[in-house]
Amino acid sequence: MIPDLGYLALILALAAAVFAAGAAYYGRHTNQPRWIESARNATIATFPLITISCLLMIYSLVQGDFSVEYVWRVSSRDMPTYLKVTALWGGQAGSLLFWNFLLSIFTAAAMARNWRKQKELMPYAIMVASFTQIFFLGISIFVEHPFARLAAVPADGNGLNPLLRHPGMIIHPPMLYLGFVGFTIPYAFAMSALISGKLDDAWIKITRRWTLVAWLFLSLGLVLGGRWAYDVLGWGGYWAWDPVENASFMPWLAGTAFLHSVMIQEKRNMFKMWNIFLVLLTYCLVIYGTFIVRSGVISSVHSFAQSAIGPLFFAFIAIMFVFSAYWMLKRRVDLHSENRLNSLLSREAAFLYNNFLILAILLVVFLFTNYPIFSELITGEKGFVGPPVYEQALAPLFLLLLLLMGVAPLTMWYRSSAERIGMSLRWPALAALVFIGVLFAVGIRGWGALLGFWVVSFSLILTLLEFWKGTRARMKKGENVFVAYSNLMARNRRRYGGYWIHLGVIVMAFGIIGVEIFQEQTQIRLAVGETASLGRYEMVFLGATRYAGPDDLLITEATVDVYDNGRYVGQLHPRSELYTRTNQPMTIPNARSTITEDFYVLMVNWEPATADQATFRIYLNPLINWVWAGGLIFVIGTLVAAWPDPAVERSLSRRRHPVVTPTD
């Protein structure tokens, strides 16, 4: 009964979405606002309907209604309630239902927030968003039916994939999905601007704001995913260039490029075509990413999500791509730049260099990720591109990007003098050189690492100087340094929030260089009482115990004493977990974290027969915590930049309609 209601709610949501698209089209073409309003209401109605469907699915999961195939597949009686709830996105059909739910939230929010001011853009935006919703609802209803029933009701379910039982999994997938789904809204407004031909500033403003929201969630999802991998997957790292990771990184890159180049359009009315293209590209990469994750076309560690919905997605991507390209070409005359570039050394040119580098990175990631497909087409054999290849190919591009990140804020619109920029760069460059000199003196070698650290510290100094210059400018008004700084942040949130984001990236880059180049590891078999050492650390194996955990879990936990330079610093408890029902092993690390490094211990093997012996894999991950700290700064910066600010919105609309007197 309950599952049937959930199914019914989905069908009603589909009907509402189809009606919304049709009514928006009809209302627009017959010029009847009533129909457009009706389309809006139908669009908003999909939100409660899909919410009901999701709630009923959660109800079935919590109740353990194993007559529902999905419930049987992803949950079991002994799972704690919170996991039963999160099992909503623990499998294919549920994830798609959840996708639908998030999309309906975003569309309803866009209707509520932008309805009054953007009436002209609305009809086509409704159509495009509804079309996306129709596609995903269609998949949910006709292909990956979440409420499908089993003929015979099993006594218990399979349980959730152990990888997904980590608390980090509660938050990581929803963030990524929010990021993915969120890009539908900017796409809808961009397409709407294209189709309606209303290509003035309105769409770019809405699109920028929604892109920032989606981008924030996607960034959060990426950082949390890295953290989850580090804490759960047990291989000492946080990013493996896995196809699924790349699938979420690619739209992030395209979105990043857009968030930069959009400033050229706002300031100089240039590159409209390019900005449209980037929005469309981001959206296509989102759908493509979902396709990669959901279809298993490129096998990956995330292959628990495989199914045969691939061809449908492929068709959808093709349709959206052709549709987007058609309208972009049709409007190419209207998208012509009103202004031209004055100098290769200007803010607008700097944004273009940024776009060039980001798209180059995107292209490399795209080609490498799809290499298995090319390889299979050409040789009939699947080849994979491993992390070393990505690192070789991308390291120079990332370094150039980091360099640009430091230098670009010094440029000015229209043109800048090379002399002044050179002057401003001289001392920071020298200071960074002194910094790596110090690193060299304390024994850090390798030109790659030193070059990396030079670039990163150079950019760090330049970024900090930007904050200082801004604060100084305000201090001339008589404010003290703290007031000046907080006013600077509060009143120029977009600019200085952006610089905080840069700061976050730089801190992360320190961490990434540290881990990538200076990670040490060793694997060793220890008997009780024996010692292993790595770097400054020593570790004494005290023994291991085996006990039953929650669910069907069998836990083997080792205890080791850790010494740093001979000084006792505490105990670690690396575990290995075995989910006995599915016989799936997990190796859960335990680490001693400091600001300079993590001493990260995995127990990779323990034989009960020789209970006093275990094999450990130990990693020394220098600066790893800088990656997480940088991620945090990054997110704070994005929040600062994205938070709606009525005062700024007023001043922006004032600037667009310059009726102000010069003394304002």
Partner: protein, 180 residues
């Protein structure tokens, strides 16, 4: 769908490869008893790092917890203890199971495409980009007019009417911050 059938066949091949390998491993286990070179886990992992797990496809061999991977690592240990160099071991795996097991595919044959494509694309992109930039640049004569136009458009920022030719970053920044 043919594509997916193919995927399954490949899985089958992988399974067959693993089984074949296990048989081979049993045969090789006999002479291996006479090993003398001590091989540490670190030596094994150093080789395994650049190989892919045979079943989980995109997971590096040194960190994969499955039994098949443990067996492969054992095979690496075997070969190293018999005096093979790390390169020889990797070459052996590539011969047996195809270049697909190599995380860092050799730069030969069709894998060259993998390396050539990004380079070509970046270079082409660079050429296109620089030509585009050149086309966009306007002659010095046009510039003054345009700036004045721009200045008028931005009356909300009054000082922008002044020619911006002299690059005064500080005063510009102050001015940008003033009205906020």
């Amino acid at each position: 769908m043919p594509g997916f059938l193919k995927l399954k066949q490949i899985r089958g091949q992988h399974l067959a490869a693993v089984v074949l390998f296990l048989l081979g491993f049993l045969l090789m286990a006999v002479p291996a008893l006479a090993q003398d070179v001590p091989v540490t886990d670190d030596d094994v992992n150093a080789v395994a790092k650049d190989l892919f797990c045979p079943v989980c496809e995109s997971t590096p061999l040194d960190v994969c917890p499955t039994q098949a991977c443990a067996d492969w690592r054992e095979l690496i240990r075997q070969q190293l203890s018999e005096g093979s160099t790390p390169e020889e071991v990797q070459a052996y795996f590539a011969r047996q199971y195809g270049d697909g097991v190599l995380a860092n595919p050799p730069k030969r044959g069709y894998t060259l495409i993998l390396w050539a494509l990004p380079v070509v694309a970046v270079v082409l992109g660079g050429v296109f980009f620089s030509r585009y930039m050149r086309n966009l640049r306007v002659s010095a004569a046009d510039e003054v007019d345009e700036e004045l136009e721009e200045g008028v458009m931005e009356t909300a920022v009054p000082a922008a009417v002044k020619p911006i030719a002299q690059d005064d970053y500080k005063s510009k920044l102050e001015e940008e911050l003033r009205n906020r």
